[in-house]
């Protein structure tokens, strides 16, 4: 795959050329700093920009336009990368040869119209669309409890120390209640001025034609500020927090959060994903084999690793009366790894599984694009380096990383509907 970079005064364009896929995927990445208020505003803006535009005055017109463009939908997401948030505007467009001549050009016009021609009238977002977007976000917050896994995860995150604080990228209801329509216009205008701006495109296309469209729409709209991204320096201080909430569910949810600190770049990018696979990913992990298969205590137990936050999180649906036993078994499995209970077979299996995922990324345009974005903007490794590095990890490195895990949070969402 050919990679090309075009640097301009106010933004950078990155092209990834491949004819493996039948579509063109475009992503505009705006990197900003954030707090609870800006995350909430970003969530509201996402709705405001996709419900209507300056040209398409309501959602029905927007949907008709998307269908006319062969389902070229626009997605706007806010992704936290440690100390920065990325507002990611993306669109996937089928190539002209599979649809009709001019589709790519027309869909790109619609993409940039959505971003740069909002439905603002007299200094305010058009009232009926603003009300719809506001209500939708408010209802979204009210519904967060309905997904017990997500709800439990967010509650557990609230227990983390300040240096590990994971804010909810969707924002907060109490912040929403303070926001006005005028605030949102001001937020929208500043979003572009304060951001570090990059645009990425993957697919098969004519460079000049695409650059002409991009430059004609981005010129004078973006600003190229510094990318402030950096990893947290986590405190080594451990202060185990435990908390239980009770809700009307059948089953209880257990979350255990482990802090790590002073990880090297290699540990964070290469060793941590492999450790995580050995510990709690998939149906051959230590947690799955021990707690589900041998002891029949759970249906679902898994771990996940947050590279940016240097956290390892164990999550399981359990019967509340088994809580202490399961916590002990999770700890036993981790202590086992710390004490050298990792075989060559464990490591080889984890490498195979990781290799499988990395190789599959080559088959997916979105994965290729976002890995490239991660390597350019967030100090991650490129796909090729990941594939090479994974083969070099040793058992000693897995043990050494396990030793850096310290249990920081035990959170229970206790289901009391059927004494669960």
């Amino acid at each position: 795959m050919e990679y090309k970079k075009y640097e301009y005064d106010n933004y950078t364009v990155h092209f990834l050329k491949t004819n493996k896929f039948k579509s063109i995927l475009v992503s505009l990445q705006l990197i900003n700093n954030f707090d609870k208020e800006t995350l909430t505003k970003a969530s509201l803006l996402r709705r405001l920009l996709t419900y209507s535009t300056g040209k398409l005055k309501d959602k029905t017109q927007v949907v008709k336009k998307v269908y006319e463009l062969y389902n070229s939908s626009i997605f706007i997401a806010n992704n936290i990368h440690n100390n920065v948030v990325t507002t990611d505007f993306s669109i996937e467009i089928l190539e002209d040869k599979y649809t009709e001549k001019g589709l790519v050009k027309n869909a790109l016009e619609y993409f940039f119209d959505t971003i740069f021609i909002p439905n603002i009238i007299d200094g305010k977002f058009e009232e009926s669309n603003y009300n719809l977007a506001y209500k939708n976000l408010s209802d979204f917050y009210d519904r967060e409890k309905e997904n017990k896994n997500k709800y439990a995860f967010n509650k557990a995150c609230e227990l983390l120390d300040e240096d590990h604080l994971k804010l909810n990228p969707n924002g907060y209801k109490e912040e929403l209640e303070r926001i006005t329509n005028e605030d949102m216009v001001s937020y929208y205008n500043n979003l572009f001025k304060q951001a570090n701006s990059n645009i990425f495109v993957i697919g098969s296309f004519n460079d000049k034609e695409l650059l002409d469209i991009i430059n004609s729409r981005l010129e004078g709209k973006l600003y190229k500020n510094k990318n402030d991204f950096k990893f947290n320096k986590c405190s080594a201080k451990i202060n185990l927090k435990e908390s239980v909430d009770i809700e009307e569910y059948n089953q209880s949810i257990l979350i255990m959060m482990y802090k790590t600190y002073n990880l090297t770049k290699r540990e964070r990018n290469v060793v941590l994903p492999l450790f995580n696979r050995i510990f709690g990913v998939g149906n051959n992990s230590k947690l799955f084999r021990s707690i589900r298969e041998e002891k029949s205590l759970v249906y679902d137990i898994r771990s996940s690793a947050s590279r940016d936050e240097s956290l390892v999180i164990v999550q399981a649906g359990i019967d509340y009366k088994n809580k202490d036993e399961i916590v002990k078994y999770v700890e036993d499995e981790l202590n086992g790894i710390k004490n050298g209970n990792v075989t060559i077979e464990d490591l080889d299996n984890a490498k195979k599984s990781r290799r499988h995922i990395l190789k599959q990324f080559e088959d997916d345009n979105e994965s290729i694009l976002y890995i490239k974005i991660g390597s350019i903007l967030y100090d991650n490794d490129d796909l090729e380096i990941r594939q090479q590095e994974v083969e070099t990890v040793t058992i000693d490195e897995i043990i050494s990383l396990a030793k850096k895990l310290k249990l920081d949070v035990i959170y229970m969402l206790k289901g009391d509907r059927n004494n669960g």
Partner: protein
Amino acid sequence: MDKIELKGLNETVIHETLDNGLNVYVLRKKQFNAFSCYFITNFGALIDKFIPINEEHMHKFPKGVAHFLEHKMFEQEEGKSVMEMFSLLGGSCNAFTNYDYTTYYVTGVENFYENLNFLIDYVQSPYFTDENVKKEQGIINQERLMVNDNPYRVFYMKSIENLFINYQYGKTIVGEEKDIFSITKEDLYRCYNTFYNPSNMSLIVVSNEKEEDVINSIKKNQKNKKFDKLDKIKIEKVIEPENVKKEYDIIYENVTKTQVGYNIKIKNDTFGIDIDKALLYLYILIKSNFSDISEFNLDLRQKSIIDQDLSLGVSMYGDYIIININASVCDDEKIIKLLDDKFNNLEISLEKFDLIKKSLISRFVYYFMSVDSIMNYLYNDYFDNKKITGDTFIKYKELNFDEYNDVIKKFNTKNKSITIMKPLKDKE
């Protein structure tokens, strides 16, 4: 060996029925690294009364037996577990049970033939003991509790259950607690021996390997395995009347907003055309009148009668087409009245017909951009037809406005069921 052209998509599936009756479908995608293999038995949660192989009488099995069997297929008599073996081979495996089928699959990027053969081998070597059956009961009961904590799934299942008097659709796939704890190893063997016979199974493979090599490898695998001869399996025939089981029902779940499920039941021979096309026309009708492309939906949202776009479904359940509209509301009576009125004044728009058709067609180009989505396409075709037909895309292309109008003329809402899910606090 025969070729199934995926008409309009320039792709071909190679199909062969082996001597033992196993149906094999292979699609080659040279440019992809990944492979995906689905091993399917025509045995799902709907089937609980049948004559087991080598027996003479109908036998009723506990609910959830197909799903329980799926879990227990991962047991091996000796050596490494199924999970460990796939880990060694670099494959990623799992299984799922729905109302009609149980499917075992492996995906990966290396050791294709080893993974494919191990998938076949482990599904064809059952090992059930009293002890390993007992061990699984607690795990499956936890799964049951997890499923029941998803209020929208509970609501959807209840909405479907309320439509059917005799069909088991909408009833639990996992089984109730008493079913799970009553299943024995003998039950599992009787079900296994009946439904896991190769003549009741299919294998779908998407990979970058030559189709002929894949089929030869499967033939070689099957050559020395012995299976009982299986005549047509006698399953209790269920006749479903046209009326619904419950016209109105209220449940209470852990939700914040009231949900209204407005469900219509229509016999599938109502329209006198190919059933897949009838489904597509009804989908376009419902989509153009009730989805986010409709002015009706926008008006409901702007007036705060609903707080999310209406969600819609058009599906086949046995001999019936089910149309399902869900609304998140404050006033359930008001929305029911408005939906009734709208069904009496449906809009028939050529503009929306063309736009929705365009959008549907574009999906197919996306389908063929990854191995997983190709497999989804083939599985959906199989799911609907018990075989791969290759006709799906061409049916989309052939949709026309005149036929659409004919279908709408025959459409009716006379068999309707309303299910409402209210927040638990409203019960008090």
